[in-house]
């Protein structure tokens, strides 16, 4: 069998703010097609910046990012973004459009025929576990969990091979978050997208990630499979794992 194709690759990527502050430093890693890579790190570690480099919301100061074998600089930014679904913590649903139009916007712009669009909207709502009548609501009429589901459905609308997710479940209550995490995993098994998932939650990283890239102050501390991460001897990785086991150790009857 051939080795898995690389969907996204960072080659010695650096990113500097206009004021000279270095946000990312010499970042290199690869994401094989169909994997979920979790970018884990604390606030300010540069994980969101790394994510925005993939769909060229930002451009690297040094090095390059290859998406499906092509440097992001050589992609047309609009075309690149239509190939990469994007879901963020703020969700950013369009308040003036109904749920159906929110999901349908990119297919509309891509001139899909109307019947195919409404079919797609119905299919996606079902896929993310929402009832069909939600389609007629406005975003402000939805709960937080429903909004996030619509956000994921919208990111999937034009069936992009790559999905970028920036703490999409971060603002939800723990139970809703757990539901969405599990549903997302089973969804991913069906769809087999390449996913880059940003989080600061080590539990979420371990649950979702095929591989986990740990960032600290703009540098890559480690990038390894979940099992290797769990057994890593790196002191920073251990500290993350300890915060996790500390809590789980207190769970259940003493």
């Amino acid at each position: 069998m051939q080795p898995a194709e690389t969907a996204i690759a960072f080659h010695a990527v650096g990113y500097q703010l206009p004021n000279g502050r270095e946000v990312l430093h010499d970042l290199s890693f690869e994401i094989p097609t169909g994997e979920i890579l979790v970018l884990l790190g604390r606030s300010g570690s540069g994980k969101t910046t790394a994510l925005k480099l993939v769909n060229r919301l930002l451009e690297p100061s040094r090095g390059q990012i290859m998406v499906r074998g092509r440097s992001t600089r050589d992609w047309d930014a609009i075309e690149l973004r239509r190939h990469t679904g994007y879901a963020i913590q703020e969700v950013g649903l369009f308040p003036h459009y109904r749920v159906s139009r929110n999901i349908a916007l990119v297919p509309e712009i891509e001139h899909w025929p109307k019947p195919r669009i409404s079919e797609r909207v119905a299919e996606l709502l079902k896929l993310v576990g929402l009832r069909a009548e939600i389609a007629e609501r406005y975003p402000h009429q939805l709960s937080g969990g429903q909004r996030q589901r619509v956000g994921v459905a919208r990111a999937l609308a034009a069936d992009p091979p790559i999905l970028l997710m920036d703490e999409p479940f971060g603002a939800l209550d723990p139970l809703t978050r757990a539901d969405l995490q599990h549903e997302f995993l089973s969804l991913q098994q069906k769809l087999n997208k390449t996913v880059v998932f940003v989080t600061h939650d080590v539990r979420e990283a371990l649950l979702l990630g095929t591989r986990i890239a740990l960032l600290e102050e703009g540098k890559l501390v480690s990038c390894q499979s979940r099992d290797a991460f769990l057994n890593s001897s790196d002191p920073l990785v251990r500290r993350y794992l300890e915060t996790f086991s500390e809590i789980s150790g207190k769970r259940g009857p003493a």
Partner: protein, 213 residues
């Protein structure tokens, strides 16, 4: 002569002056919209232009209206007809609320919405027409509303340069020291301002993006 008698005896003249008034306000607002909204959009895209554009519109706003009408008298082409001067001056006054409200409306669109739209691959044009302008529409309309209400009042001064309108009656009443004649110009102008305010306020509420009560 009291207000009521003057009005009933000069119905046609008052009506034609009111129409003239409406024409000046309508046309100047139309031009102000055509110039002010694009300028407001421009300064959201080119932040360096923001301060000079707003400052210029601000300075225009501070010129006393009677003086502005006078200044424009020697202007080429415009100076040939009083109506042109009036429309130009009213348009200049209407620019500030339009530019400012367009800018504010677009800038106050939720940054999460803009980021999501960019991340989805909307072009600059699509972002503007499908997201930013629809979400800013009610704020921009509030700017038009302010501009129209101010214009209806200011347009009465246009009579000083001979542009006609309801101001004609006000100035005549002043010259005759006759309150009835003054009121025959002032009352219809006030009613016009109120009606415009009500109509545009209703539109503004209809255009506001749906949100939780």
């Amino acid at each position: 002569m009291n207000f009521y008698d003057f009005l009933t005896q000069n119905k046609l003249e008052v009506a034609s002056l009111a129409l003239e008034h409406l024409w000046m306000v309508g046309l100047s607002t139309l031009f102000a919209v055509a110039i002010g909204i694009p300028l407001g959009i421009l300064i959201t895209r080119k932040p360096r232009l923001h301060n000079p554009v707003i400052a210029t519109a601000n300075v225009i706003q501070t010129i006393p209206s009677l003086a502005l009408f006078g200044f424009l008298l020697p202007a080429p082409w415009f100076g040939d007809r009083a109506g042109r001067i009036a429309i130009l001056a009213l348009m200049l006054y209407a620019l500030l609320p339009l530019i400012r409200n367009t800018y504010t409306g677009i800038k106050s669109v939720d940054p999460g919405v803009v980021e999501a739209a960019r991340g989805m691959g909307l072009t600059d044009r699509q972002l503007l027409f499908k997201v930013e302008l629809p979400l800013a529409a009610s704020v921009i309309l509030a700017g038009i509303r302010i501009a129209v209400v101010i214009s209806v009042g200011l347009a009465t001064i246009a009579a000083a340069v001979g542009a006609g309108g309801l101001g004609e009656l006000i100035f005549r009443g002043l010259a005759m020291v006759n309150n009835g004649v003054i009121l025959a110009g002032a009352v219809p102008a006030a009613i016009m301002a109120l009606l415009a305010d009500l109509l545009l306020g209703w539109l503004e509420r209809r255009l506001a993006p749906p949100r939780a009560a």
